[in-house]
Amino acid sequence: MDSPLKAFKRTDGRWGLRNHVLILPLHSALSTTARKIADDVSGCVALNHDWSGEVDNDLPRVTKTLAGSAANPNNHSVIFLTLGTDVELEIIKQAKAITKQTIIELSLPKLGSIQTLTEQATQEAIKLAKEAEAEARVPAPWSAIVLGLECGGSDALSGITANPALGVASDRLVELGATSVLGETTEILGAEHLLAARALDEETGKKIVAMVARYESSINYEGIDIRGAQPSRGNIEGGLSTLEEKSLGAAKKAGNAPLTGVLEFADVPAKPGLYFMDTPGHDIEQLAGFAAGHINVVVFTSGRGTPTGSPIMPVIKVSTNTPMYKAVTDFIDLDAGTIADGIETLEETGARIFDEIVAVANGQETKAEKNGHQEFALSRMYETVVPPLFS
């Protein structure tokens, strides 16, 4: 099947499915300024976060997430807003090492006032957004799609309707030469043996089992009874009884394709195929890992419903049950509840999801994009340490 895709070709060979100007504050204190600029200039998005320059054990993870997000191929260009600290400059340096797209740095101490910073950034944003708008999509191969597989607010139908239907779409894309990435380590616990059995080589299989074991021992070490949060209260109301049950259903998003590789949080897949990425169960934190790992489109299945989007990646929402879809059609794109109602087969729903991914890759707006949802959250592993700058 010839690729019907049209996308933005980056000079380093990667493909963008969007072409926005990213306004990226490197200190939480500049988040509001970034948001204002993005709201004022069409074609811009802002990435808001709560990191304030903490130099602690999480620094490498935070740096990797912010630099990786800046280098996502969906960005036409990036405007960094900084307080001019060394850690911020390090993030910019790392981003420049990954992407060849235009990067502008504006520092508050250098410009002297928020007003000047805002004016300068707005001027740059208008100029870059104009450039971005003038750029045309060109025919792209199937490998241009780097799909993220996500689920949140699972119910007992997740593993029967939306997740396996997404698995059908993912399998088709992988077979055509695209990349598909499953995340959420919490949500494959109890199903990792099934993914390991599909690994292309023994090492990959061992790696995924070890990754889940690492997570499991960290939770046991902290003495947390995870059953309070996993499955969540919403999951339990929906009919899921154990974490393993949730995982068996969640893993169905990855279909039956062979597992090409296993990625650490925010790692970039090196070649097409199906991957697993170590991400937390928190939907928005895990989307940040996807964005930093250069995923350019996401399908998000939900049983309970969520309006979540991303500043960087279009997020297609699929409901697992029809009553939820009907209740919140303004933020859910597709309904897979039709499978449980006996109206559609798994393959038919999977084909609809596949077609939607292609349409969105070619520029069709998702509901989260229409609604302006640009959620972003940094994933941290350790206690936050007060930054030296303000202590």
Binding site: G239, S241, L243
Partner: protein, 99 residues
């Protein structure tokens, strides 16, 4: 592409399973005859929840999609609601942490 809805009340996922998923809200005493099986519903069971399709003994595995998803914390009879009140995950449970 669309066909007439089939009004199934239960979804059997794998032949080795000892549970089925309800596709409708089930009432106590309801008799379900479907796919060659007859089950009398013993509890009120909401859509999306599980019902026992085989006799399950305490500590037996609960099997869904042909895979073990936890174990029974009490004996469970055919037609009974299978959920957190009589099922516990095998991993990351409090007992395991206490060990």
């Amino acid at each position: 592409m669309y066909c007439e809805p089939v009004m199934r009340k239960l979804l059997f996922l794998d032949p080795s399973d000892n549970i089925a998923v309800s596709l409708a809200d089930l009432e106590i005493g309801e008799l379900i005859e479907q796919d060659g099986t007859t089950i009398k519903v013993l509890n009120k069971i909401n859509r999306g929840h599980k019902i026992a399709t085989k006799e399950i003994k305490k500590n037996d595995g609960i099997i869904k999609y042909g895979e073990r998803m936890g174990h029974a914390t009490s004996d469970i009879h055919i037609g009974e609601h299978v959920h957190t009140h009589n099922v516990l995950g095998d991993r990351l449970s409090t007992e395991q942490v206490a060990k």
